[in-house]
């Protein structure tokens, strides 16, 4: 029923002229090429921009500082990192009360800067206490630091596997020391 009559002619034997049969095979290779190209494109673009999350746990604010003092911390365990404008990092070891502009030193976000610094500090603290994970990093930021800086430093904490770190506010002594450094 639903067929086309392809016999051509139909009873007219005197006509020997037959239409040339065209091949129905179409070369599909370019089409496959195109399809796979599109697949590759979509796969690459969908996995590119996936946001990820970095965990950050902040301590509970202590209402009464005399009540809960926590563990005693030795000054030699502490490394204070101050993030400043223009991707400058200031750092010093020990307690803030003894800080002078002379003991405040400068470093960068390069792997041989802040990362090496933390690793060195860890090695020193480990040798002193004969116990791992005793290093404490205090991260402070001036008002001119950008958000990227703090994410970078938190990343360094993860890379160097520093277990104890805290984000704190600048103390008066530190603010003065940083200001003196810029002059």
């Amino acid at each position: 029923m639903a067929q086309l009559d392809t016999s051509g002619g139909g009873g007219r034997h005197e006509s020997k002229l037959k239409a040339k049969k065209m091949s129905t095979n179409v070369d599909l290779t370019p089409m496959v090429d195109l399809a796979f190209l599109l697949i590759t494109f979509f796969m690459l673009t969908t996995t590119m921009s996936k946001p990820v999350a970095m965990q950050l746990a902040m301590p509970k604010p202590i209402e009464d500082s005399t009540k809960d003092k926590g563990e005693d911390v030795k000054a030699s365990q502490v490394l204070t990192i101050i993030l400043d404008k223009d991707d400058v990092i200031w750092y010093y070891e020990g307690i803030p009360e003894e800080l002078t502009p002379a003991t405040l030193e400068k470093t960068t976000y390069a792997p041989n800067g802040i990362r090496q610094l933390i690793l060195d500090k860890q090695a020193k603290v480990n040798a002193q206490f004969q116990e791992p994970d005793k290093t404490i990093c205090l991260i402070k930021t001036t008002n001119d630091a950008v958000y990227k800086n703090i994410v970078d430093v938190l990343d360094e904490m993860d890379i160097t596997k520093t277990k104890i770190f805290a984000i704190q506010n600048m103390s008066e002594v530190e603010t003065q020391a940083v200001a003196a450094k810029w002059q």
Partner: protein, 210 residues
């Protein structure tokens, strides 16, 4: 000896099946791909080594370059959050109480919210098209200073909708690379006062491996 003729095989391979598979895969990927919701606040996140995926049902606070903060809630939580906010601020801003249910439901269409709550009634009274138009304008941000820490109330209200069902909704902060760190710290400080200590900082995957 008769010559053994090896029948010549055609070198044409039928590509139809391969085309079928390729297009099937293509269709599958296109259909399963999700469009990224259009972002009303443009933020260029810093990159980090973190690899944890972000859940869908989160409370996200976006901090843009100028330090304004914006709230993005999961679709199903928006209306419930707004209802409890109206209860809280109804006395201070009586116009909030004049909103009818339809207008409140309108809030469910707002992807990212960044206004003072006293501007909300005027915003929700707009029609859908007007709202769309409004979205392209720059939002001023939710107040978050210590006098009027609305962002904290928003987060608390949104959190409560999850806690009622016994679910702790993660709180994410999405900051711009070059936004001032103080703005982000202020938000963390505000939320710490409300006994929220865990945060997710949204970053993009680090491109280069060093």
């Amino acid at each position: 000896m008769p010559k053994v003729k090896i029948p010549r095989k055609s070198i044409i391979v039928d590509m139809t099946a391969m085309t079928d598979v390729a297009f099937l895969l293509l269709t599958f990927f296109i259909l399963t791909a999700k469009f990224r919701p259009s972002e009303t606040v443009l933020v260029d996140t810093p990159s980090s080594r973190a690899t944890e995926q972000v859940a869908e049902d989160i409370i996200m606070i976006t901090v843009d370059q100028d330090g304004g903060s914006f709230l993005t809630l999961y679709t199903t939580r928006r209306v419930a959050t707004l209802n409890s906010l109206i209860e809280r601020y109804g006395e201070k801003y009586p116009s909030l109480r004049t909103l009818d249910q339809k207008q409140i439901n309108n809030f469910g269409n707002i992807e990212t919210f960044g206004y003072n709550i006293n501007q909300l009634p005027a915003l929700l009274k707009l029609s859908k098209d007007e709202l769309k138009e409004k979205e392209s304008e720059k939002m001023p941000g939710i107040p978050m200073d210590s006098v009027d820490a609305q962002i904290g109330d928003w987060v608390n209200a949104a959190r409560a909708t999850g806690l009622d069902a016994g679910l702790e909704i993660p709180i994410a902060i999405k900051g711009d690379k070059s936004s001032n760190v103080t703005a982000v710290k202020d938000i963390i400080e505000t939320l710490r006062k409300r006994e929220i200590y865990r945060f997710n900082l949204i970053t993009s995957l680090e491109g280069k491996i060093d």
